[in-house]
Symmetry: C2
Subunit: 419 residues, 2 copies
């Protein structure tokens, strides 16, 4: 079916098929009085209404009126941990009472409580919960997410997690790209034997993941006290050799991860709170996207945030993501993350929008099909109830999404678009 | 019409008809498997389903199913500046580029830009914009707000503002209690002549406000560089003598406001970032509610937040509010403010919920009718898409409101409640 959406101001992010860095991040490709012509799941034309309407297919299209609102590519959320059995409400309440991370862990909280709960959960319950969460992402204008495993930490539970992502993907319009994050933490039964655990992952789990086509990427938590640079490399290299893309939890607390990401030609290095200039140079040379996750810093009540300005100044392409997870960032709303990025990391609204669309798509290896409004791109779009792009991060704690299209289908709306 | 809402977990906040302080703030009156019976705009019974169903009117009521969700009093937002002509997007973008408040003011930004814009706006346009904003508050579960003037700062524009609140009130179910905040700033035409400005307010504007019944409260910005303690007292005392309740913007940057609030028997002292122990003792004795506004600290990217724990420990009843305004807090969502309060001020979820309901109602002098689920109270309620009260602040950047009742009428819903 052909659809012509008219009467919108567009953020097209049109331009070269590459992630944006430095001053390029301020270029959003604004078209006032624009239109978008879709054919099935693809955009065939986007730009000034007069131009779009000259397309030979425009006359046959069903016409939709955007009501003068802002239309942009659906948000791409390139870092989430959305498969978990329960929210970590006890940890949350304890932290509000001033308890430290160590004290919470001693009371049975922290990541290992998520592991216990996930191991005990049925795969179909995990899939159902993920399906429900997917609806929340879509309602907020996010049309593609990366989805990690990593609360299973044994063969059966990691596979159960990835199969739940596969099952939920079949039921929701939200596009979910699965990541095998086996190296998220060392499980209790391997305490002090990280290498043995990684050998088990590489020997038993990875082959099954690849055989069943359950993941697009591998990821490792490369930090002091978790997996060393050398250990993370062992796991990530095995994944890479098996044909998976590489992502790294890097430099959140300690050095090593970002330089490993550069060495492995990873798609992204994520967190980067403590990234050093030398490692930014390596990332730039290797074409690694910096994925920043300021939502967790906010939720934990921290004053320090990832050094966005330093990263942009270094010429490394920057993406923003939610880090959606039950322990440190229970937020599915990319608009909220953009707001935090502007208020806390001094990103401009334009930079934040670029980081949540075109750059985020590149962080997932989807730059050719996602994150822009251009001919040939997938018709993933969000119509926002505002007139000015600066309003997207400005009205914080809000969801401005008035309509959401995924692959050309209207998957959420709070308004009537038909004329 | 009688309505019986069943199958909900209730936060009743039942208890004495007084604001809660100290450890009392942790008591939310949870009733699992509860029900609420409404008759018209009032609650006639709330509690365990079996008990509520024994009420003689229960048999005649239309039955609604809450689906096992959490039901609580509608949020009461006791501090907002919702009447403005335009969002301050330029200031926002400049601040994201690292510009200081002084530089922004020098470029024509800051509060005086809101004053210029409001003076140039038509009253009916202000009323219409306020009506639209009221919908956003309702959608997030807020059923009552306090609404300040203060961007007019001349006789005609302050009256225009208060009349816009009156006009919008007639059209929206959101209950708006108007506050005459003439002493928000010294307007340019009175530069250096604060007392002359206040004399004009007291001589020309206040009598008209009272005559037309346009305000319930007066408020003044009592800070160094704005209105001194003595000047603010002049204005507030005139308002009090004219029969209006007193509120004070206090101790955000400098001392004076909270002690003035205590001296005048104000309903609330608001902000309090720098409140001193001695002034908290005065507030406690005088029964002044502390209204904290952490949303603005968050939006401005500050690390310091109002000292909630010190205030609770001092036994002063604490309320939370949005401070909704175009310069420092464009957030209409009380759930977001609760989340910031827990993450940044170490309030517990229970304390935050108490601060947004029963205590906020008392801050507005509405404690006898608002902020609790008890017989005789106004039927203002929000049904939240969660099972555990801790989820309300936990899922940040979200709006969990599934249904909102104002005076017994269903004014917003995302779900079907009929059986």
């Amino acid at each position: 079916m052909k659809q012509l959406l008219v009467n919108a101001d567009l953020l097209t992010f049109s331009g070269p098929d590459a992630p944006r860095s430095g001053p390029e991040m301020r270029s959003v490709g604004l078209v006032r009085g624009g239109a978008v012509l879709m054919d099935g799941d693809k955009i065939v034309s986007a730009g000034l209404r007069d131009l779009v309407q000259r397309h030979p297919d425009a006359g046959k299209a069903r016409i939709l009126d955007a009501g003068g609102r802002l239309l942009m590519p659906g948000f791409v959320d390139s870092h989430t941990h959305p498969v978990f059995a329960e929210p970590r409400l006890k940890d949350y309440a304890l932290r509000s009472q001033g308890r430290t991370y160590k004290e919470i862990a001693a009371e049975g909280g922290g990541i290992l409580s998520s592991v216990r709960a996930l191991r005990g959960a049925l795969g179909e319950d995990l899939a159902h919960a993920l399906f429900e969460r997917a609806r929340r992402f879509l309602e907020c204008g996010t049309t593609t997410i990366e989805a990690k495993s990593g609360y299973g930490l044994d063969a059966a539970s990691e596979l159960k997690t990835l199969r739940a992502i596969s099952a939920a993907s079949a039921a929701t319009p939200l596009e979910m790209l699965p990541t095998f994050l086996g190296a998220h933490a060392v499980p209790p039964e391997y305490a002090g034997r990280a290498k043995d655990y990684l050998k088990m992952l590489c020997g038993e789990v990875l082959p099954a993941v690849v055989r069943e086509g359950l993941a697009r990427f591998v990821d490792a938590f490369c930090e002091e006290g978790y997996f060393s640079e050398e250990e993370a490399e062992l796991f990530l290299r095995a994944g890479k050799e098996a044909g998976l893309g590489v992502r790294v939890h890097a430099d959140q607390f300690s050095r090593g991860g970002s330089r490993l990401a550069a060495r492995l030609g990873a798609l992204s290095a994520d967190h980067l709170d403590r990234v050093e200039d030398e490692d930014l140079r390596r990332m730039k040379e290797a074409g690694v996207v910096a994925v920043l996750l300021p939502g967790s810093n906010h939720f934990l009540g921290l004053c320090d945030f990832p050094p966005a300005r330093k990263i942009i100044d270094a010429g490394v392409p920057l993406a923003l993501a939610t880090d959606f997870n039950p322990g440190t960032c229970p937020c599915w709303n990319m608009q909220e993350i953009l707001s935090i990025a502007v208020s806390r990391m001094r990103m401009t609204p334009e930079e934040a929008l670029t980081a949540a669309t075109v750059n985020a798509a590149h962080a997932l290896g989807l730059g050719k099909t996602h994150g822009r409004l251009s001919p040939g791109m997938q018709a993933d779009m969000v119509l926002l109830d505002c007139e000015d792009l600066r309003e997207v991060p400005y009205w914080f704690g809000a969801n401005l999404a008035a309509a959401v299209f995924k692959r050309g289908a209207l998957v959420h709306s709070t308004t009537e678009l038909r004329i």
